[in-house]
């Protein structure tokens, strides 16, 4: 496919890198000449230096028939203009835009009325709010993803000091009475990622991803030693940006007591008008004294969501030191994610990865229902519907030769049955299959399941 990406920042880079590896032709429009030079050296793509909202530049970039436009510059206006130009001048088949304003619904309607067809609007903030709310009561759990309409769940868990699974092999964990339909699907250790086999060992400091059917959710958590907080009442939010406000509003709706720390008095005034019961504290949320005075010790959840990654990490570390809260840090720079996890900050939220996931899911063809990206670019969970004519369908898993680094995580049958398959299981046509794959084998895997010409789910 011919894909034009407007904006060559981190998100644009990650999307391009994936899509190039999957055999697409990528052109990137980026405004910063130095960034362009960097991209030229590392991506096998055509890089055009210029403003993505310029008609001339876009025409130059998309002179040949364009399949997809992905507008993900930092600026909403440019992204919208980009879609407009692509529709009128480039005849792009599909258009994706990232929008950051909270008026995203308003824009959706405006575009519709004006006849500008934007096939996907990515609003990372709302996805992030959902992700955070789900993990608040679960200490140690970094994130939860749903597959197969919620029948299957995947969660990330930090293996902390004293966890009983420390030092155990996969086989030992199984033998200890693991719930039937559950599975350790991936282990992240420092910069490494593994798809574990029977003899692989879990260690302290690992982040493991566990797959389970939703029915056995509580059982699985109990088995792994995760104690669910019965009540999450007091929540601290550091930073008064849009996402904090949205989160505060959501938490208010659930009758939580929220304190929001923001240093800028004017900003505080503004936030105070947007929230009802939330207490706005006009102070530095990364200051130990401030946190102590505001009684951080009794807090259930501590969310550091400022625009500054370092501040977020420091704030979380302080909160962990001063209390027993579930901490979560918003990190923009992806290379901080691993470090933060090593420092014991189990939940990190990256708006960039969320955006990448959404864009990739759209671009991938055919029966791919969802794509979840872990860390920068190392592994993926892919959910897809097995077509009847795939060579992997109708054969026992133990007889199949999958590429190295692929694991069939779970199968959801059309009958509603969910299984975590063993070697004797067979994928049947129409099954929803959840794969775990190291990034380099994703194209191979997809090629085995998908063909050109399959319709994109609309």
């Amino acid at each position: 496919m011919r894909i034009l990406i407007a904006g060559g920042g981190d998100v644009g880079f990650l999307i391009a890198q994936r899509l190039i590896r999957e055999g697409n032709e990528i052109t990137i429009v980026e405004i910063d000449p130095r960034r362009c030079e960097y991209l030229e050296g590392v991506l096998d793509a055509r890089i055009i230096c210029g403003n993505a909202a310029s008609v001339g530049t876009l025409k130059k970039a998309g002179s040949i028939d364009l399949d997809i436009l992905i507008a993900i510059t930092d600026i909403d206006e440019i992204n919208l203009l980009c879609c407009l130009i692509a529709q009128v001048e480039l005849k792009a088949t599909y258009k994706i835009a990232r929008i950051r304003t909270h008026e995203v619904d308003g824009w959706r309607q405006v575009c519709e009325k004006a006849g500008v067809k934007i096939d996907l609007i990515i609003h990372a903030e709302s996805d992030i709010v959902d992700r955070i709310l789900r993990v608040l009561p679960l200490p140690g759990v970094s994130e939860i993803f749903d597959f197969a309409n919620g029948q299957i769940r995947l969660f990330g868990l930090n293996v902390e000091d004293g966890a009983w699974i420390d030092g155990k092999t996969m086989e030992q964990i199984q033998a200890a009475g693991a719930p039937k339909n559950s599975l350790v699907a991936m282990i992240f250790r420092g910069p490494q990622v593994m798809i574990p086999h029977g003899g692989d060992v879990v260690k302290v400091g690992d982040q493991i991803y566990v797959l389970t059917s939703s029915k056995q959710w509580d059982e699985t958590l109990r088995f792994l030693g995760v104690t669910v907080r019965q009540k999450v009442d007091r929540v601290f939010i550091v930073g008064g940006r849009q996402i904090s406000i949205r989160l505060a509003q959501e938490l208010e709706r659930r009758d939580k007591n929220v304190k929001l720390f923001e240093q800028d008095p004017q900003r505080c005034e503004k936030i105070a008008r947007l929230v009802k019961r939330t207490v706005i504290v006009c102070a530095d949320g990364t200051d130990e004294r401030v946190l102590e005075e505001e009684n951080v010790a009794g807090v259930d959840a501590f969310l550091a969501l400022t625009g500054d990654d370092e501040d977020n990490i420091i704030a979380c570390l302080l909160a962990k030191k001063l209390g027993n809260a579930k901490v979560a840090a918003l990190l923009n720079r992806l290379n901080y994610v691993i470090m933060a996890q090593r420092l014991g900050i189990s939940t990190t939220i990256s708006p960039r990865l969320v955006t990448v996931d959404r864009a990739l899911r759209f671009v991938r063809k055919g029966g791919v229902l969802s794509v979840t990206t872990f860390r920068q670019e190392e592994a993926e969970a892919i959910e897809l519907i097995a077509p009847a004519d795939s060579k992997y369908v109708g054969v026992k898993l133990s007889d199949l030769r999958f590429p190295e680094g692929v694991l069939v995580g779970a199968i959801a049958r059309t009958s509603g049955e969910v299984i975590v398959p063993r070697g004797d299981a067979v994928i049947q046509p129409g099954d929803r299959v959840i794969f775990f794959a190291l990034e380099e084998v994703v194209p191979k895997l997809e090629a085995a399941f998908l063909r050109e010409g399959q319709g994109r789910p609309r």
Partner: protein, 483 residues
């Protein structure tokens, strides 16, 4: 960071590819009567063995080339190809020393066309084909070919592409580098086929048509005849070759825009294309006037000679149709200047490249303006676009580097006893990949009489010129090897 396994694997593949390129010459040696297949077969086996020896133990896995690896690999690839490509010459009885064989091979791959042979017509057909074939392979670039056909070189290929293909700084033709490379090679192949057909129609025999086509499109200059193209005594052949030399000296990216994308506006408004055409036209006119007025040529013969010499020189091909050393001094000096100028960036021609000359001229004009208007700010324009300051710097420093290299190499040649005119023109003619120079290395002479040291020096000059100096010399700087 430089990974040996990565370099070995790519180099090994290149050598195996080089050995495969010897197969047609081997076939010719078997088919033509009186030809000896042994030299080509020996070379082929040695090259394959060396290639496999590098290739098999190396397990680089998936990789992306870094900038340093790209630069080092470009240089190593060229040196390797020139040395292994010299083997068929070395094993044949016509090249007494290894220095001679390497000179001839380097001259071939860098599309210089300078020869150490006193009589090319005694060569068997297999060696003739290999000689001209090296021009064709080296013309569009061995690395560009590797990028097009070796799937393993991904994003890092851009470093190879830039190191070898002048003018690659400009935008890529296609989003994917491999496709860019193969698009360029497709144009090259089409032109090859066209010229072959044209030469056949003009009455040249099949074998010589192939050889001359290879030499023309690579802008090399090796011929199967001692008197070069002049040996055919056919104005039609000369005009055909002029046309294809001119095309080979044109930017291939721009030609792609013209033939494939059908954007003639973009092609004809390209400042380099225009300047190139202008240089050819004006120089031809001047030489024409000179040969008619000063040397007593007829009007049409004078035009043909002038056009041929100007085209063969500016495209740095180095075919000979006429002995320009018998002309007045002014056209001879103009010929030397055209050698320095060279063809377009992104073509198979050598020289400093028209775009650089234009850039340097514009930059100088700006400096002069600055003297008068001290507070004004000027940008250097190239066509409609303002040129980034870095491009001006690169053009100027390439020019300076060429001057220094030229002076150093000329010193070596004069120290070995060559006269000043011959030494200066020999270095210009090899460094800018032209072929024949002036004096004792003129169009009717050859490089056989030079000392081995001079031959090695000129081989280095040819390589440095082909890689446009930077790639060749950056590897020698301490900064390159610093951890």
């Amino acid at each position: 960071m430089i990974r040996g396994a990565v370099l070995a694997s790519v180099l090994g593949k290149l050598l195996v590819g080089l050995a495969a390129a010897m197969l047609p010459a081997f076939a010719v040696s078997l088919l033509s009567p009186g030809d000896d297949p042994a030299p080509i077969l020996q070379s082929l086996l040695i090259t394959v063995a060396a290639g496999l020896a590098l290739l098999l133990p190396a397990r680089p896995g998936a990789f992306e080339l870094s900038l340093r690896e790209g630069l080092l690999l470009s240089l190593l690839a060229w040196v390797g190809v020139c040395v292994f490509g010299a083997l068929p010459f070395y094993f044949s009885p016509y090249f007494p020393t290894f220095a001679d064989a390497v000179f001839e091979s380097t001259s071939g791959f860098t599309t210089t066309g300078a020869t150490v042979l006193t009589d090319v017509e005694v060569l068997p057909r297999s060696i003739q084909l290999w000689r001209c074939g090296t021009h064709w392979i080296g013309g569009m670039g061995i690395l560009l070919l590797a990028i097009a056909v070796l799937p393993l070189i991904g994003a890092g290929g851009i470093h190879l592409y830039r190191a070898e293909f002048s003018g690659a700084r400009s935008e890529k033709l296609k989003p994917r580098i491999a496709e860019t490379a193969s698009s360029l090679w497709k144009i090259y192949l089409s032109l090859t086929l066209l010229e072959y057909l044209a030469l056949r129609l003009a009455g040249m025999n099949g074998f010589e048509s192939i050889c001359h086509t290879f030499s023309t499109l690579g802008t090399g200059g090796f011929s199967t005849r001692a008197a070069s193209v002049g040996g055919f005594e056919s104005p039609v052949i000369e005009y055909i070759i002029v046309v294809f030399m001119f095309l080979a000296g044109l930017n291939f990216t721009q030609q792609y825009r013209l033939y494939v994308e059908r954007q003639p506006g973009r092609f004809f408004s390209d400042p380099e294309v225009r300047a190139y055409a202008l240089f050819v036209a004006v120089s031809t006119l001047l030489v024409w006037i000179s040969v008619v007025v000063q040397s007593g040529y007829g009007v049409s013969h004078g035009f043909r000679s002038a056009l041929f010499v100007v085209t063969t020189t500016i495209t740095t091909t180095g075919f000979v149709s006429d002995d320009y050393e018998k002309w007045a001094p002014a056209p001879q000096l103009l010929i030397l200047a055209l050698m320095v100028c060279g063809g377009c960036t992104g073509s198979t021609a050598g020289g400093l490249k028209v775009a650089r000359i234009v850039t340097v001229a514009r930059a100088l004009a700006r400096e002069l303006k600055k003297v008068v208007e001290r507070r004004a700010v000027f940008s250097v324009r190239y066509g409609e676009q303002p040129l980034p300051e870095a491009a001006v710097q690169t053009a100027l420093s390439t020019l300076c580097l060429a001057v220094f290299v030229h002076f150093g190499a000329s010193m070596v040649l004069t120290a070995a006893g060559l006269d000043v005119l011959s030494a200066i023109s020999a270095v210009v003619a090899t460094m800018f990949n032209v072929g024949p120079g002036l004096g004792s290395v003129g169009p009717m002479d050859n490089y056989n009489h030079l000392s081995p040291l001079s031959k090695w020096t000129l081989s280095v000059c040819m390589l440095a010129g082909r890689l446009e100096f930077y790639t060749a010399f950056v590897v020698l700087t301490p900064a390159f090897w610093r951890k």
